[in-house]
Symmetry: C2
Subunit: 213 residues, 2 copies
Amino acid sequence: MPNNTPSLKFAYHHGDLPKQTLDLALKTLRELGDAAISLRALAKQLGVSAPALYRHFSDRDTLLAELAIGGFEALTDRLGAVDQTTPRTALIEIGLVYVKFAQEEPNLYRLMFGGRVLPLGAHPRLDAAGKRAFTVLENTVSNARQLGYLKPSPVSMTTAAAWSLVHGLSQLTIDGHLPSAKAEPTLTEGVLSLLLDGARSDTRQQSQQDSNL
Amino acid sequence: MPNNTPSLKFAYHHGDLPKQTLDLALKTLRELGDAAISLRALAKQLGVSAPALYRHFSDRDTLLAELAIGGFEALTDRLGAVDQTTPRTALIEIGLVYVKFAQEEPNLYRLMFGGRVLPLGAHPRLDAAGKRAFTVLENTVSNARQLGYLKPSPVSMTTAAAWSLVHGLSQLTIDGHLPSAKAEPTLTEGVLSLLLDGARSDTRQQSQQDSNL
DNA sequence: TAACAATGTTATCGATGTTAACTTATGCCG
DNA sequence: CGGCATAAGTTAACATCGATAACATTGTTA
């Protein structure tokens, strides 16, 4: 007798094991970190033998990569939803959204940018997902520069500075080296403003070779 | 009969196993990353049984913590050696030295700031070593501010911005997301200058609430 | 020299990732 | 409708790892 959802791929023995595996892995990641993700433990909780998971994930690392891809997609969505009407607010808001994502999903963010696991080049789909998130930030910077809001520095350099700032702030806050937004709500915006306006006290349009040290 | 080096701690069966263990672990870390550090493998290479290492390191994590402590001490030394005569060059140089360290010791740097392993609070001596490195940077910022070179923003905020920038740039370059100093020699200094001078094109002394957007 | 602590050893436990070989369910196709 | 290829699961097994317990040996010292 046919199922009520005809075109949907049938649940085999289990009910859509791949998705349930990813869901449980994501839950474990959020609560305990990636080191706590064990294929055997996942399988046991899903009522399935451990090698069953290998029918759907060739490797533990590719399962982790799948989680990271989902993270980059979520981040890309959030960054893409930022209001882009004025350059400054767009830049600030992009930074705020970025740091907020990291602080809301610290273990996922660490997995996405761990470096130790999931090195660049090993999982092409993951690399592509990361690049898409980066492009949103780059486009925002590029747009602000074309509108004359930013200095005519190379886009790559301004983007590198912006990304480094938000990434570093994210890492340092979720690791407890700097106060997170809950303890210091104005920190992120203040730091972003410093990059835009300059940390130096006397800021006319000049560069360092004018040497008024 | 006394040994020729009287005050030196005696080599037991092995010749200073703790130090040799740390040396080999550091070598392994540099070449293969922290995930490749296995107590059993270390012991085998040292010609010793695995549980022997537990006489000197209560845990695998404390061995890793010891490596990270050494890393922070090396970083602190390098940061402390920076010339502090003029605020701007001191700030720039601190950043250059910081990023250079990360790029020269990527696996060690990742261990020091991994977050996954060695979370803050688990190894007090490690936390203290990290704090000492941070203090060098903080003092440099604080000094530059007192000399009037930096805006009168709170020191904590300016320091957070500076640390976030160099830490983020370090992470992103050693993970391959941004070009390293070898591929783009001017990137680090350019990014640092952006923070000092501001990324915005029109930079008079004003803050964002002046609203000339 | 006898007690004692420091430093090793072997044996063992429990957990992990992964592969091989086998079994069963499912959907397609003649 | 029946057989068959294959997708999806099973058990068994291997290698490795961190860690502990129980025991042996070496060096120090009262």
